[in-house]
């Protein structure tokens, strides 16, 4: 028990003294996940908006697959990207395996279905309400997509936050394609896994505390965005 308290004390020390190792890992994690979420948002908004508005064969099937992929296990996302990027894979020539870019790609694969499926649902709900009005105005399909995305902006923000929460907390995908290389591809989650197995509980705990704080902050913003939307009757 005293060991644990000591570890906890050391962990807090690492955080308040802005320990350079800890912050290097923290910054890399945030950089990777933020970049992945930006890319996944652009893809997810486009895919979700298009699936809600355009009618084409296979639309329902694609929507169903997208929703199912929301629960894609990170290790599987990692495995798929690993196969693509490995030396014998189709994108092997790019030599991206074990780089932060590889981790970004893996997280994009993981997060795009989440943002895409939530965007499609948000747009579909709005379209049910707006359809006749927009067609009465003579809006083109692309204009309808843009209108729905903007009017669903609060729900899209929550989708993005959910995607970020997923990306920053996952370990399987970044572990497989990043390799947890010190100073190169070591993120908070992979570092926690490694340090724990090495018995270096203090650093693991410090990272855990930071990760938990980020998760709480993301959820607090979710609630705040929802409240703001309700207050403006924009929900």
């Amino acid at each position: 028990m005293t060991d644990f308290i000591d570890a906890f004390r050391t962990a807090l020390g690492l955080i308040v003294t802005l320990d350079p190792d800890l912050f290097e890992i923290l910054i890399l994690s945030i950089k990777v996940s933020l970049t992945a979420v930006v890319v996944a948002s652009l893809l997810g908004f486009a895919i979700g908006g298009a699936l809600a508005v355009y009618r084409f064969p296979g639309r329902t099937a694609i929507s169903a697959v997208l929703s199912a992929l929301m629960g894609l296990p990170p290790v599987v996302a990692g495995l798929i990207v690993y196969l693509l990027l490995s030396n014998v894979g189709p994108l092997g020539v790019l030599q991206l395996l074990y780089t932060p870019t590889a981790m970004i790609i893996a997280q994009v694969v993981l997060v795009t279905p989440i943002i895409g499926a939530l965007t499609r649902q948000a747009c579909q709900d709005l379209l049910e309400e707006y359809d006749e009005q927009l067609r009465s105005l003579g809006a083109s399909s692309s204009a309808i997509v843009v209108t729905l995305l903007w009017d669903g902006r609060y729900r899209l923000i929550t989708a993005v936050l959910a995607g970020f929460g997923r990306a920053i907390a996952e370990v399987g995908a970044v572990m497989i394609v990043g390799g947890n290389i010190d100073h190169v591809t070591r993120t908070m989650t992979t570092a926690i896994a490694l340090e724990t197995s090495k018995g270096n509980i203090a650093l693991a705990l410090a990272l855990g505390i930071v990760l938990l704080t980020i998760a709480l902050a993301v959820n607090a913003s979710l609630i705040w965005v929802q409240r703001l939307a309700n207050r403006l009757a924009y929900a």
């Binding site: 105005l137 003579g138 209108t147 902006r153 009757a233 924009y234």
Partner: protein, 254 residues
């Protein structure tokens, strides 16, 4: 804020030129194996307000949507001054629905969006928005989120948005069915004003008093057919059909 006395481009002074007559020829609409509109023939010639009346399920809303091109007839055709409804013609129409459909944006942005969709240039939109809101008495609410407005204000905004498009033809589907008398009066004033500017108003209403106040001619629908269509004065004074007589006397029309 716009100076209401200043001469404004577009909106206020423009005289609409609706493509009349509207000919409904052997019109039929079937959905789910049910004939909602059945061999309907009618011609609307008056430039003034036409009211479509009838019991629930008579096909009034469907007829309005057919004329506006939101749905396609399964039989027959609709001709506007001899022409089928094509895209340019559809752009000369606007519609106000029974339940106000407003975007999750400010009052001004709702009007601006509609203008944008219809291809009005960005720098011209502001002046049109100002004029539309002034007309509807909503100029003080320009930056209010549209969906926090009262029911009456929301419907006024929908009407203002439709009018900002400078339509030649304006459809309304029971626009005041859930509004209080003051809000209803405000809407009716806007409609009479629209009519004075030459806009052809076609209105579905359940409200006999409203039809009396506004309509120049009344089309009475029953079971998807027009069973009576004549000038309002004679429709209310000398009702011909059994169904319409029962409807007007408050009886149950089955």
């Amino acid at each position: 804020m716009l100076d209401p006395t200043s001469p404004l481009e577009g909106a206020g002074d423009r005289l609409a030129s609706p493509p009349l007559p509207v000919e409904l020829k052997g019109l039929g609409y079937e959905t789910g194996g049910k004939r909602v509109i059945n061999a309907l023939d009618a011609t609307i010639e008056t430039r003034r307000i036409t009211a479509i009346m009838g019991p629930n399920g008579a096909g009034k809303s469907i007829l309005l949507r057919l004329m506006h091109g939101l749905i396609a007839p399964t039989k027959g055709e609709i001709l506007w001054a001899g022409r089928q409804l094509d895209r340019p013609m559809a752009h000369r129409q606007a519609m106000v629905f029974q339940r106000p459909v407003l975007l999750r944006r400010s009052v001004a942005a709702n009007v601006s969006h509609a203008l944008g969709v219809r291809g009005v240039e960005r720098d011209k939109r502001a002046i049109c928005v100002g004029e539309a809101l002034r007309l509807a008495g909503l100029e003080g609410h320009a930056s209010t989120p549209a969906r926090v407005l009262s029911g009456g204000e929301q419907q006024r905004l929908c009407l203002a948005r439709a009018l900002s498009l400078e339509p030649d033809v304006l459809f309304l589907d029971e626009p005041t069915s859930s509004l209080d008398p003051a809000s209803t009066l405000a809407i009716e004033r806007l409609l009479l004003d629209a009519q004075r500017r030459g806009i052809k108003v076609i209105l579905v209403t359940h409200d006999v008093g409203q039809a009396r106040r506004l309509a120049d001619d009344v089309m009475f629908l029953h079971h998807g057919r027009v069973i009576e269509h004549q000038e309002a004065e004679s429709f209310f004074g000398d009702t011909q059909s059994e169904g319409a007589r029962a409807f007007l006397s408050g009886g149950l029309v089955l």
